[in-house]
Amino acid sequence: MQTLGTRPTTAGRAGLAGAPREPLPELPAVEAATGAELAELYRLMTAVRQLDVAAISWQRQGILPAYAPELGQEAAQVGSALALDPARDFAFPTYRELGVARAFGVDMVEYMSTHKATWHGGLWDAAATHLAPIQAVVAGSVLHAVGWAHGQTLEARSAANGPANSAAGSADGLPVAITYLGDGASSQGDVHEAMNFAAVFKAPVVFFVQNNGWAISVPTEKQVAGGSVAARGAGYGIPAVQVDGNDAAAVLEATRRAVAHARAGHGPAIVEAMTYRRGPHATSDDPGRYRSLDEEREDAGADPIARLRERILAEGVATEAALAEADAAAAAEAEALRLGVIALGPRPGAEMFDLVFQEPTDELKRQKAAWREESEHE
């Protein structure tokens, strides 16, 4: 950044003297992914791929009314999620985070319930799984991650000052929030607010941006001024990295560095995973209206799963047979999920009324009674 004007020799807050700029902190180094971790990445990514591809066909068969595929983003999603500890960290997904949900151990039928139009937020227990419910407002939950993260700081402080009865802020550092957002989401004012708040409060939060080239029909060039969301970190004093989002091990490493920084109490970090949305925005979308198949092939690059597979075999981390076994397990999982999704029935209509408040109002009870009577529900 260029500065104009002379620096005053007197101390004070006026003019340039009042605007000291600390150099950006460096993200700590972490160990590279082990062979076992590469195999685990593969096992999860092939499962996510098969579930995702299957979900598209279920939509075509009428099992799901709609679906938003994550095709091609397996490395970004699984790689980042594996850097976290679902027992203590908390993830805030978008509508496209099947890979994160799977890596967090969320029940996949409960996950798919949002796409089956069973329950908007999904049926899984967000408090128990540490995966926030799905919400549809693009960038709507980014600030929540900052708030949750700052809560961990406050807990740790009160634990340090008072009786040691708080889980947060133990010797192994702070619980960390990770918020997932897209290139499109980065345009929302809330994202600016979130990054600024996070930096001001030194909140232990990782902004994980999946820059997949598109926000429905709008390409990143027309969305992200300056070309990079990570580059904005400098303005907030937040360390940031751009990573090849289709290289699972690189994503794991980059996210681990960001998490380590946040865990140690140094504040937020940004990881921008450069990836590609290989599928349509959602099953209702018609990408032919804004990109050609040739462009898709060219821009998508090598398949992240094929890349990982190649590396694993080249390094002798696992055998062909072991990978084939993982693929077969994934296929079986997809078939089991299909049956589970088909078996998933609608929720009782009474839940519409019962779940609005912890303490339902009399008026809601009256409306529920009228609904039962008029809609002839027992």
């Binding site: 908007h120 549809a136 029909s217 209206r289 008029e374």
Partner: protein
């Protein structure tokens, strides 16, 4: 009689001097096309409205025809879209912004409520806000959260905003033209479950040909009035179906449902009048008084939650104007005081035919005292 053309949904319809068969989506597309052609200051902006033509294709083909400077994609930020529209209006343009789905108007509420609605007043009329915000609205398509909401009461409550909702292709065409030509901000609520329903549309060009009353190949004056192409037709409610025994008041997608209910009620000898309110702010109190003054009974139907919904306002207007002649309190058949549910429960939430018939029954069977 006038000639009837069928125009494909996706293509921009020709500016034909004829009655066209169009979907609501096609009728809105035609209206925007004609507005952009007639008004060099008109602009269309929003997420995916350019190359893609909007997720509902309402702006399909417009960027190619009128230029990517006048019909343009914005970054993904609703507050930005509305705030920028306000600035464009200050610079003399007539922006027609779109928010992609009703629920995504919420991130823009600050700009809509605190800025768009107030600028004319704040500037003592020096800075008018000829901005029409198009909002695909209401439910009925089994969509994800926030893709089916009913914001009319929220916006109708804000001083400085006008609110309108078309029920069919003709209303879509006529009301959008009226809204965009107004010097004040209008929230234009398009019933998304009706986008693909077809109907006959009398275009302005056809109306200008003269009328069939002169013996020409043009719509009759009754058709032109019914199409909302006269000044009187543009500002108020309309009778979608005349009847003698009871008035159903509705707007948007609920008009079609009330028309269905009226057919069923007719089988039982109940003659229902359906009043399509169209303008939700300002509300056409005279039309309500005329209709209910005649039928002496009213049921108001809306998808939005019941408490503080627009039905309460409508009921109060009817009570003020028709208290002496009313045979029963005005009934409300509405959504519930719950967040719009997921697709599986949608039919439990939106007023269905049975619930509307129950409402009619309560009014007809009402006994004083």
């Amino acid at each position: 009689m006038s000639e009837t053309l069928t125009v494909s949904n996706n293509g921009v319809a020709p500016g034909a001097s004829a009655t066209l068969e169009l979907s609501l989506q096609g009728a809105l597309n035609l209206a925007l096309d004609e507005l952009l052609a007639e008004d060099p200051k008109a602009l269309v902006l929003g997420e995916d409205v350019g190359t893609l033509g909007g997720v509902f294709r309402v702006t399909s083909g417009l960027a190619a025809k009128h230029g990517a400077e006048r019909v343009f994609d914005t970054p993904l930020a609703e507050s930005g879209i509305l705030g920028m529209s306000i600035g464009l209006a200050m610079a003399g343009f007539h922006p027609v912004p779109e928010v992609q789905f009703d629920g995504f108007a919420y991130p823009a509420v600050n700009q809509i409520v605190c800025q768009l609605a107030r600028m004319n007043y704040r500037s003592r009329g020096a800075v008018p806000m000829p901005v029409t915000l198009r909002v695909p609205s209401f439910g009925g398509i089994r969509a994800p959260e926030h893709h089916g909401e009913s914001l009319e009461a929220l916006f109708a409550h804000v001083p400085g905003l006008k609110v309108v909702s078309p029920a069919d292709p003709q209303q879509g065409y006529s009301l959008l033209k009226a809204a965009v030509r107004m010097p004040d901000p209008v929230i234009f609520m398009e019933p998304k479950s009706r986008y693909w329903q077809k109907g006959l549309v009398v275009t302005e060009a056809a109306a200008n040909l003269g009328t069939a009353d002169d013996g020409g190949d043009a719509p009759s004056s009754a058709e032109i009035t019914g199409a909302g192409l006269t000044d009187a037709g543009l500002t108020g409610a309309r009778i979608a179906r005349p009847g003698r025994h009871l008035t159903l008041v509705a707007w948007g997608a609920m008009v079609a449902r009330c028309l269905q209910v009226a057919e069923l009620a007719a089988e039982d000898g109940i003659d229902v009048e359906v009043l399509d309110l169209r303008w939700l702010k300002p509300i056409d109190a005279d039309a309500l008084a005329t209709s209910v003054g005649k039928t002496r009974r009213a049921v108001v139907v809306h998808e939005a939650p019941r408490t503080s919904g627009l039905g309460a306002e409508v009921a109060q207007i009817i009570t003020e104007r028709c208290f002496g002649t009313l045979k029963a309190p005005v009934e409300r058949v509405t959504g519930f005081d719950v967040p719009y549910p997921s697709g599986d429960l949608e039919d439990e939430y939106i007023p269905n035919i049975d619930r509307i018939l129950f409402g009619i029954q309560r009014v007809l069977e009402y006994k004083r005292g």
